[in-house]
């Protein structure tokens, strides 16, 4: 890759697997699970979080030498909250329905631990460009898990994907067929169990992660 050095590429690819923010660092689970009933809100959420993480990383990284250590949490919260307000206004303007579905979870991006975690662990000690890549990588790692969970839950729970029905209507019991959606998949507990299973699969495939 001409544009990105090996080190830069690592910043993006590592969070996808070995340092995945959700399954390995266990950050940002708070808002991750409630938005995964369907694919569309999950994707919107993933993009919003990626944008906020990347840009807050850049801003904090540029300010890193001027922020007094004692009040850095407040400064970080203000930067993140300002970015989230922008994201919220954009969502309300362009995808109003999704923004209604996400309800309070857009606001909760502010306290998403991934963002604070990356600001503390990376942006405070690195230059803006690597911080930007780190933000994009972590946002993408978070988004990946969200999308996997959302796809599974939507297929089994609603028999559709991106709102397009996959199961022929005549198969449903209501129309004299044999098929019924698994209503359990759209309930909150299933998101937790799905995530547990994803962690299980990931750790069986990558032995280094066991015991962490």
């Amino acid at each position: 890759m001409g544009l990105l050095s090996t080190k830069d590429t690592k910043l993006i690819t590592n969070p996808m697997n070995l340092e995945n923010p959700i399954t390995v660092q266990v950050l940002g689970v708070c808002s991750a699970l409630a938005v995964t009933v369907k694919l569309e809100p999950a994707l919107v959420m993933a993009i919003s979080v990626t944008a906020v993480t990347a840009f807050s990383n850049v801003i904090i990284s540029m300010l890193r030498n001027t922020i007094p250590n004692r009040i850095r949490i407040i400064v970080q919260l203000v930067v993140v909250a300002a970015l989230v307000i922008i994201v919220d206004q954009i969502l309300k303007a362009f995808v109003y329905d999704v923004s209604k579905q996400l309800s309070v979870f857009v606001g909760l991006i502010i306290t998403n631990c991934i963002i604070m975690g990356r600001l503390e662990a990376f942006a405070l000690g690195n230059k803006p460009w690597p911080s930007f890549l780190d933000g994009v990588g972590n946002g993408a790692g978070y988004g990946m898990i969200l999308i996997i969970v959302a796809i599974v839950r939507e297929i089994f729970g609603s028999g559709s994907i991106w709102g397009i029905s996959l199961i022929p209507q005549s198969w449903y019991i209501a129309n004299g067929g044999f098929y019924a959606n698994n209503g359990f998949m759209i309930l909150p507990p299933m998101a937790l169990i799905m995530l547990g299973v994803i962690i299980w699969v990931q750790r069986s495939r990558t032995k280094e992660l066991i015991g962490k």
């Binding site: 399954t23 266990v26 950050l27 940002g28 689970v29 708070c30 808002s31 991750a32 699970l33 409630a34 949490i73 407040i74 919260l77 203000v78 909250a81 300002a82 989230v84 307000i85 919220d88 206004q89 309800s103 309070v104 606001g107 909760l108 502010i110 306290t111 998403n112 631990c113 604070m116 309930l187 909150p188 507990p189 299933m190 998101a191 937790l192 169990i193 995530l195 547990g196 299973v197 962690i199 299980w200 990931q202 750790r203 069986s204 992660l209 066991i210 015991g211 962490k212």
Partner: protein
Amino acid sequence: MEELLNIFVKSVFIDNMIFAYFLGMCSYLAVSKTVETSTGLGIAVIFVLAITVPVNYLIEKFVLKPGALEWLLGHEMASQIDLSFLSFIMFIAVIAWMVQLVEMTVEKFAPALYSALGIFLPLIAVNCAVLGAALFMSERNYSSLAEATTFAVGSGVGWFLAIVGIAAIREKIRYSNIPAPLRGIGITFIATGIMAIAFMSFMGIKL
């Protein structure tokens, strides 16, 4: 009074912060290794919720809502002002500020409580459950300060029950024979899922 009791029961069991909305999962997973520390964190969360939600309620009611500045500017000018887009930044600022204030007050007047809660208080500023409660409070439009406070305490108690429950399970689960890749965080998620299923049995209750 009956109304308040309904809100309390609803926020503890039916709209449980952890099991229905997954709020505060980060600290829930990180601090639930032993019952003792999770009790400390749980109490700190109840405490902070009971303080920040009423303050945020007042701010929302008298500053942020469309036309809320009537007491200051008079009806005509106030009706054109809608500051509700500022709610995120106001809420988080109030939370960070109140947490700092609570921390200093407790340190000064109740050193014993401070040494028990001390390390958890700063963590709570970024606990999703606290901001989540503020946002739910504004979304659900509670009609009085008492209702908002009851909701806050109820949410805190629900969160407390959840974290103490999972900590007790994790203490016991250490002795079980779990497949290696599932150990630790994986089984905790699945156990939380099963606890959430149990809590769902409250959902049928109409209050």
